[in-house]
Symmetry: C2
Subunit: 443 residues, 2 copies
């Protein structure tokens, strides 16, 4: 919490003494001021007494790291008793068996390596796994995702997925909601909530425990009873949520929702070969798009004629996918003109630009490299078709990070491969199509 820059009052409770200049109170009731929120990391057999103390102190929320409840043999009764006492006292519980809440705006932090990542954003993530919550913040930060709130809620014995989803649907700081769920206490209510939330904000759901062995692990992890994957797939589709199957896919999809405004159409321009490595990228990009139901149509005859006049005669491809034949290496304004021509083409709805950083770094000066990025930022700011950058980070991690940082504010998402970009784009399109259809149906 201190690393995260939390500015509220913090009190330590334990066996007495001092920590970082703060007194350690023997009991929560000994704290002089009011206490809103209690973070608990004590053995489970002490938790009921602690709850009674919290009730006496007028605490509103208790978050429990403490584990060994419904996820463990013989732990369900203790969890039920804990919920009974909390509800009687008007206390809400986050957890048990969770790492709690991350909220950069208020400096609320999670344990682990996350400490310094407190820049705030518009994506929310709720997770039954603390490990996934931490991993998502880290992975997301590397890709350019910034969060409003991340909540690890473990067993969800009191506040559960439905409560957090309802809260985030109304939260003005949150534009996209993502969830990692293992179990469902009330399936009908959850699906109904997902349906309502999906109507107002993009909702992406990763359901863990979708296989027999995964479900078994989920029961041991958070005491969850998982249901069949087929049921989930159908329910989420009908409810208008976006289904993903891994942390990577979740982050990729979140990034696309965060960085791309809503657009119409699935006709992709693929632009490659800025300073080389264009041909294979054209093929990979086309295969990736078509595999996800996106189109890579021919450019109009007019655009193609203009491109042919502009691009070098050998090593370029001027239909679509486009290989600009290394034009950025010797004629940067020619590259800008090629971008302009392709983006203005009436057959095109969005563009993926392949930037082979390894070649860019060796072929261009630092200044030319940033001019190239400026050109993309210019088109992102001056026309409506979304731009997506494809750039493998290998051996050029520092340049990759610098590029992601420059593209973050103008909202150009960067993916390491066409396959991952196409998958994310297709999911965003499916969401908006469903939402449009729903709108039409209900009007």
């Amino acid at each position: 919490m201190l690393d995260g820059g939390f500015e509220g009052k913090l009190y330590a409770v334990g066996r007495g003494g001092q920590i970082w200049g703060m007194p350690i109170y023997p009991n929560i009731k000994d704290i002089p001021g009011t206490v809103d929120y209690v973070i608990v990391a004590i053995p489970k057999h002490l938790v009921l007494d602690l709850l009674d103390d919290c009730a006496a102190k007028g605490v509103k929320v208790v978050q429990l790291f403490t584990a060994g409840f419904s996820e463990a043999r013989g732990g369900s009764e203790l969890e039920e008793e804990m919920v009974r006492r909390a509800r009687r006292a008007g206390i809400h519980i986050i957890g048990p068996n969770c790492i709690g809440v991350y909220c950069p705006a208020s400096g609320m932090n999670l344990p682990g390596a996350i400490a310094k990542q407190m820049e705030k954003g518009s994506a929310a993530f709720i997770s039954q796994s603390g490990g996934h919550a931490g991993a998502m913040i880290e992975m997301g930060f590397c890709q350019g995702i910034r969060f409003s709130k991340v909540v690890s809620f473990g067993n969800g014995c009191d506040l559960d997925s439905v409560d957090f989803l309802e809260y985030l649907a109304l939260d003005p700081e949150t534009e996209i909601i993502c969830a990692y769920l293992e179990g469902v206490k009330n399936g009908t209510r959850l699906v109904e909530t997902i349906k309502q939330v999906s109507r107002v904000k993009p909702l992406i759901i990763w359901k863990g425990g979708r296989t027999r062995a995964g479900a078994k692990a989920a029961t041991s992890h958070t005491g969850s009873i998982s249901s069949a994957d087929a049921f989930w797939a159908a329910a989420l589709r009908q409810a208008g949520a976006v289904k993903v199957g891994s942390l990577e896919e979740l982050a990729d999809t979140m990034l696309a929702f965060q960085q791309l405004h809503r657009w119409e159409g699935n006709r992709v321009a693929i632009i490659t070969g800025t300073v080389g490595a264009g041909g294979g990228a054209c093929v990979a990009g086309s295969d990736a798009c078509l595999s996800e139901g996106l189109e890579v149509p021919f450019l109009s005859d007019e655009t193609r004629e203009q491109l042919e006049a502009l691009l070098p005669p050998a090593g370029s491809i001027s239909h679509n996918p486009v290989d600009v034949g290394m034009i950025a290496a010797f004629n940067m304004q020619g590259f800008a003109r090629a971008m302009e021509l392709v983006l203005a083409d009436p057959n095109i709805d969005l563009a993926m630009i392949h930037l082979p950083l390894n070649y860019l770094v060796t072929s261009l000066s630092q200044e030319e490299f940033h001019t190239l990025l400026d050109i993309l930022i210019h088109f992102r700011n001056t026309q409506d078709k979304p731009l997506i950058v494809i750039a493998p980070p290998f051996l050029v991690e520092a340049q990759w990070e610098a590029m992601v940082a420059r593209f973050s504010q103008p909202r150009i998402p960067v993916y390491p491969s066409f396959e991952r970009a196409a998958k994310a784009i297709a999911k965003v399109m499916q969401y908006w199509e469903h939402r449009t259809d729903e709108g039409t149906t209900s009007s």
Copy 2:
């Protein structure tokens, strides 16, 4: 070539003068010594004359960067004439429209950022795309893959995929062969070659241009006529090769073949929670394995009892997947004992160990971290069941690289996610199963 440490004789040919202290000869025929191999980067209208000069000089192989042949409008005739002249003179052509050969053992190098990556290994890669060839070397190096030879052969007008595959099957430096192919000149012969090569070495094939748009791009890229994906999938399966669909999948599969000896059985132990983040990893690992046809069986009663006695009572899972409940944070020898118990279990054929580097870095001292890696290396060296490490690299890239470097020689492959590891492992198993079946059938 100089950056790569090439130790043979290099001659420059061009308009005269000097470069890096070497004379630039006006014509290849002016070079005093014999010339084996010519790297060509001149406009295409000069290539036929150059070939005649090469013939006069007794050159054996010509590699052409030069593009604008069968991949471009009106370029097929020139390519055909070039092949006729080369064959008449006993010259072999690599390319045109390619970046050539990378061979760390002899210091043969490719352009781009690859320069310093000259450590040799056992994986070969042939590619119709120069961009993919370079990207694979870079991606591979980051993951721990080392190469015997990488060949970018572009249009493959003379030496083609079949020739390179036959060569690599007999190359003693090569243990695994990978190919990125766009087109097929003689499908029957290629499939027959793939079948024969797959019998002696693992052969992994990524076919680009598997969709309509991808095939169109492939024609413009290397003049290739792609065939339907369904045909390819069936042909590769029958021929015993491993089919992949992206550069990432190709690298992941190559890594598993390179680092894992052959083993029997698909029953995976999933070991998580060294210092935390175990629960979600258990679920994700189980889902990933089951989705790829691997099993995550219960451990024997005996192992489970011993694990339960060893692991902390809360926050641990002692069936399989296993969450060791942060034992490595306070009892490193206990972690070693848990590893020993799981690996000795008769229900287990291989193990995936989840290492959340972010938590390891903050929870353990540098020394403890390396002790943990030592424990894994010890078990890799002293028992036969393969170990695979799962570790997300985000925000801990330096530690990730250090770990991959330490695991490279003892041959423990590292993957950023369970999903990618499971996919690669399943492909390796399918290969060996097919090869075993073939052996049985033909005996």
